[in-house]
């Protein structure tokens, strides 16, 4: 699960002032306690959509820990992302139940139609494709989620239609 900073295209990002303040307020609500780092990162990802280096620096300052420590935690957990997700984040469940029912073929079809690899976002920023490990809807396997919406019993033929819904 190791990711490296150099793998990400880090343009200097200017964070919006109001969002910076929002995150500072969150840190204050946790009394700047580094034991709540993971809660703070969840909140930060909610606010900014992802966790670029600038956000990690801000969190490190607020909680009085090193940036390396924050980076270590961010890269450890797959839920945290250092690249912005697409406007419509597509996740294909690759849990066991979905795998046995053909999730791989569904994933291949998304990758092919959108010309992206897993973990990438389309150049226009509209779609990103990632894999999930079981969303707990195994009865509906194979499962795909787009944003909050859940699609069950997806076959490779359905993929085109799903993408079209968001175009």
């Amino acid at each position: 699960m190791t990711k490296h900073l150099k793998d990400y295209n880090m343009a200097d990002i200017k964070l919006p002032e109001n969002k910076i303040q929002e995150l500072k307020d969150v840190c204050a609500s946790f009394n700047h306690d580094s034991g709540d780092l993971i809660h703070v990162l969840h909140a930060a990802q909610n606010i900014f959509g992802y966790l670029p280096a600038e956000v990690q620096e801000l969190v490190a300052n607020e909680l009085n820990v090193s940036v390396a420590h924050v980076y270590g935690v961010v890269t450890f957990y797959s839920f945290f992302s250092m690249i912005p997700k697409g406007k419509h984040p597509i996740s294909v469940c690759m849990g066991t139940a979905c795998y046995v029912r053909g999730a791989e073929k569904v994933l291949d079809e998304f990758k092919r139609l959108l010309s992206v690899k897993v973990g990438e976002t389309t150049p226009d920023g509209s779609f990103s494709v990632s894999c999930l490990r079981c969303v707990g809807a195994c009865g509906l396997a194979p499962v795909v989620t787009v944003g909050e919406k859940v699609y069950g019993r997806v076959s490779p033929e359905d993929v085109k239609g799903i993408i079209a819904e968001y175009k």
Binding site: M1, G35, C138
Partner: protein
């Protein structure tokens, strides 16, 4: 939940029967009565004795006797102790805990409070996966309502016992289900495990004695206290008491959650409750214990399910995932699938797990490409045993199980890949070609139209042809052909 005889609902007793967002409905079904009785009429030792005598063992995978764990935590002297609920449910393909949290959140809160009373803890923490937003929402509502009714907070039931519960979120790391890793994650650190001992019951969250139990384990507690240890221990087998919830999935007709008494056979679960294999196919194997478990075959169908029998057969109970596979599933690919999972989820702290699993994965990959040798097979087994014996935590100690159990039970499939360059179930893409039987093909052009890479050519009403070099072996043509004219070689 699939509805059939042979099932008994203990852990799932309220799921689907009450509105989980209304504490009154829980109370009407004897909710919080066990806590009230324990606090006002029983000493902590008496409660622990009931749990011990019931024979309840941990449902999170390890099967450790629950009453004994509580007693160990109780005996340690400390100013502050913690009670933790492990709701990380990392086994992909399992959703027992999610269903309990979403359908009956108060039972977990009640049991945690009872646990706090027994161990001397005033704080409870639920570590829950961020992937379960509905369960999180329901837990928050339940905690608020319980506080409002004075069932959590100060001086519960007019006694001097105080207890409160908070939520801690996971962030997508399977290893955080392991209790020492979970505790580090709750402390805001990378979720890496540490060597036991010391066990969490001696030194856990913030270095204090911490009692970690699984969601389903907790869901059994209030019922045991209401109905008694004798009632509970009358269900099940000699060493495994009560019921177990399984998430039945894969190639069975009825997928879903089931709760059966310990001692039920795999055959009853898969064929009677699960309604047999989908599409009339043949049963091949069932994986219990998730990525840490093993696959069981036809020969194991009549063993009765309990902790010890499953281990003796080369698998384990795990948290309750049960994935059924049919004749179309390739067991080498299956082992590779689980290893892929482990490689990604290994935290990297110890080298046997970080490097060993990667090498195991690569060997399996070579075999599924048809490039493996007989020597690879013996290396594979050796390395699997090394990883198992030398890894730091339960993740690495069990990750080779899918490899070893498929090698034990399906060696012929490994041999076919290695010696004949064939995948008997036709799943390994590198080893197969899709071919159109010219006699059966009527030239309807359907296959050419569904082919995503335009690898199929042919005139209307004439037999079609697949260009093997262009073909990506997706199988769409074969799925669509109405005349059964396409086959795999």
């Amino acid at each position: 939940m699939v509805k059939y005889k042979k099932q008994i609902r203990i852990a799932l007793r309220n799921c689907g029967f009450i509105n989980p967002e209304n504490v009154d409905e829980y109370i009407v079904r004897e909710g919080y009565a066990a806590l009230g009785n324990a606090l006002t009429n029983m000493t902590p030792e008496e409660v622990i004795d009931v749990i011990k005598n019931s024979g309840l063992r941990g449902r999170g995978g390890g099967g450790f006797p629950t009453g004994l764990k509580w007693e160990l935590t109780r005996k340690v002297d400390a100013d502050q102790k913690y009670v933790v609920c492990n709701a990380d449910e990392g086994d992909p393909g399992a959703f027992m805990d999610r269903s309990i949290l979403e359908g009956d959140p108060h039972t977990v809160l009640e049991a945690m409070a009872i646990n706090g009373y027994c161990t001397g803890a005033s704080k409870g923490l639920i570590y829950i996966r961020a992937e379960y937003p509905l369960a999180i929402k329901r837990l928050k509502i339940a905690i608020d309502q319980a506080r409002e009714y004075g069932l959590l907070g100060e001086d519960i039931f007019g006694t001097n016992f105080s207890f409160d519960v908070e939520l801690r979120y996971g962030a997508g790391a399977f290893v955080c289900g392991e209790e020492t890793a979970l505790i580090h994650s709750m402390e805001g650190l990378r979720g890496e495990p540490t060597v036991k001992p010391p066990f969490p019951s001696e030194s856990g969250y913030k270095g204090m004695p911490t009692n970690v139990n699984n969601v389903e384990t907790y869901a059994n507690i209030p019922v045991i206290l209401l109905k008694g240890a004798d009632w509970f221990s009358s269900i099940g087998t000699e060493k495994s008491k009560g019921t177990k919830v399984f998430a039945l999935a894969g190639k069975v007709n009825n997928v879903g959650l089931i709760e059966v008494p310990m001692g039920t056979t795999l055959r009853e679960v898969i064929f009677d409750i699960g309604g047999g294999i989908k599409d009339g196919k043949k049963f091949k194997a069932v994986q219990t214990g998730g990525p840490s478990g093993g696959c069981l075959t036809e020969n194991h169908l009549d063993i009765s399910i309990d902790y010890d029998n499953l281990i003796a057969s080369g698998s384990m109970m795990g948290s309750g995932g049960m994935i059924v596979m049919d004749e179309d599933d390739c067991m080498v690919s299956m082992a590779k699938f689980y290893l892929d999972f482990t490689v990604e989820e290994s935290c990297g702290k110890c080298s046997p797990c970080r490097i060993g699993n990667k090498r195991l994965y690569e060997m399996l990959d070579t075999i599924t490409q048809g490039k493996g040798t007989l020597e690879d097979l013996s290396k594979l087994r050796n390395l699997a045993n090394v990883v198992k014996d030398t890894s730091l935590c339960g993740l690495g100690q069990t990750s080779p199980n899918p490899v070893l159990s498929t090698m034990d039970n399906f060696l012929d499939e490994y041999m076919a890949h290695v010696k004949d360059g064939k995948c008997p179930s036709g799943q390994c893409k590198a080893l197969m070609s899709y071919i159109i039987n010219a006699d059966a093909c009527v030239g309807c052009t359907l296959c050419a139209r569904v082919c995503p890479v335009d690898a199929i050519s042919g005139e209307k009403k004439m037999a079609h042809l697949i260009d093997d070099d262009a073909c990506i072996k997706c199988g769409a043509c074969m799925d669509k052909c109405k005349f059964g004219a396409i086959f795999i070689q």
